[in-house]
């Protein structure tokens, strides 16, 4: 390296200093609450109670996790949340894919009205529909059932899924499908073989949204599961947990960590796949 180029690279890194400092601040602000949750969950009670908080894990304990897992029915609620969420995501994907295809690829009377309706449905304050939903579920004998929750979360996530898949689908040129049809594929096969693989990032993104919505939902789960306490989901349990344990922040944070874990793991896995899918598409295109 010549002295001059070294000088230049040093002046470049100096120029980048404010930018990188800002980036570091953003990173710390974004990560700190989650870090603090995990740290508190692993920290012995006497450290949590100390007047001067330490910011690094010095000694680690699993006592809070033991307390959270040993709580009544923890694993049942965990499984309930998972079942409800999976049902919602699968239903939403199938229905939304069909709707997005109709909106993005076909010309029909009332298409604009349909799009407007879907956008309007996103505005629906679901909290406001608690009472009518409760009445419907009661009359249809659907109270205290996980399938009811799946169905409601499916309805909540459907508008967003349709809108998003539509814009992903619109970005895939229709000519690709037409070329496959000219080569002798039926419309369905052309869609499945040509367009569907290119939609993978969109499908992953929308299923992620569905997963998070269903996993997090609280108001309906609280309202529609009353008698059969074994059918409660994790958020409802977590909210009552902070009532039961009061200011035992260690156990509360351990429960929050266990609740957040599956979403974070899924995000990690999907994040890699999404970007891989995008570059794969770019190379092929």
């Amino acid at each position: 390296m010549t002295p001059r180029s070294r000088l230049r690279s040093r002046s470049r890194s100096l120029r980048r200093l404010p930018l990188n400092t800002a980036a570091a601040v953003v990173f710390v602000l974004a990560v700190f609450p989650v870090y603090w949750m995990v740290l508190t969950a692993f920290r012995p009670t006497r450290d949590i109670q100390s007047e001067t908080p330490g910011f690094l894990p010095v000694s680690v304990t699993l006592e809070h996790f033991g307390k959270a897992v040993a709580a009544d029915g923890f694993w049942t609620f965990w499984r309930n949340s998972l079942l409800v969420t999976a049902g919602c995501v699968l239903l939403a994907l199938v229905v939304a894919l069909a709707a997005a295809f109709a909106v993005a690829r076909m010309r029909w009377r009332g298409r604009r009205g349909f799009i407007l309706m879907v956008f309007l449905a996103q505005v629906a304050p679901w909290e406001a529909l608690l009472i009518p939903m409760y009445v419907i579920a009661r009359d249809a004998d659907l109270l205290d059932r996980l399938a009811t929750l799946s169905l409601i979360y499916f309805m909540i996530t459907l508008p967003f899924t349709v809108v998003t898949l539509r814009s992903f689908l619109a970005a895939v040129p229709a000519e690709l499908e037409e070329a496959a049809q000219v080569d002798g594929c039926t419309r369905a096969v052309a869609f499945r073989r040509v367009t569907l693989p290119l939609l993978a990032p969109g499908l992953l993104a929308t299923s992620l949204f569905g997963f998070i919505t269903a996993w997090n939902e609280f108001a309906f789960a609280n309202m529609l599961v009353i008698k059969n306490q074994d059918d409660r989901t994790l958020p409802v349990w977590l909210s009552s947990f902070s009532n039961v344990f009061g200011t035992d922040w260690g156990a509360t944070m351990a429960a929050s960590t266990l609740f957040a874990l599956p979403v974070l793991v899924l995000f990690l896995v999907l994040q890699g796949r999404v970007s891989a899918g995008m570059t794969g598409g770019a190379v092929k295109g």
């Binding site: 930018l19 406001a128 996993w215 997090n216 609280f218 922040w249 609740f259 957040a260 974070l264």
Partner: protein, 257 residues
Amino acid sequence: MGELIRGGAPFVGLDNYRTVLTDPEFWAVVRRTFWWTFVNVVLIMGFGTLIALMMRKLGRRMRILVTSGLVLAWASPVIATTTVFQWLFASRLGVVNWLLVRLGFESFEGYSWLADGPAAFTVLVLLVVWQSVPFAAITLHSALLTVPAELYESARLDGAGGGRIFRSITLPLLRPIFGLVLCLEVIWVFRCFAQIWAVTKGGPGEATTTLPVYAYRVAQSLHRYDLGAAVSTLTVLLLVAALIAYFRQLLRQEADR
């Protein structure tokens, strides 16, 4: 409620709306809801745009670091992070109070954030902004990536400065996705319920009661499900009125295609 379920409820016309609309408390809640939405959305869009622009300038390693930080914050479940914020702002042993005292604000020793109206409002704004900025920043950043680099290059060759490039190239090309993100954030913040209910239940007093919380309060604690439903309907109408400009633009775009 029993009337409603048995189906024996009499039709009351617009009586419930009259009751709600003539209640000064309702209008106070409406004003508070618009203020709540305005503060949150301005902060979310401001920080989101700044972070997106910053991410484009960053080197590869720093960009991955910031992205993963944002994704972590975005991915964490609302109920979990809401619980964490209560711990951060706890009056005793809370790390925020500790930090503020350390910085010389002695009055924050054992300060109870949720006992004071404006302070509770601030905590909720910080919570919602922290939860919402990652989505805005990541979406705007990926939209920025779709702007062809050649456009920037030729603008720079023509002698345009950073501010001019932002105004003449970045902003017009980003307008559709910026509009979409803005619209979604307005909807989400306006309707926000779980966070407010979990942290303050609309209190102290009425300081953090926005329309969805108000509707729930009226329905649940006063057992006036009819009035609660009227408030919810009015909430939807207000939101639609606020967004009508965006819908018209969307329809015009659809017509152009």
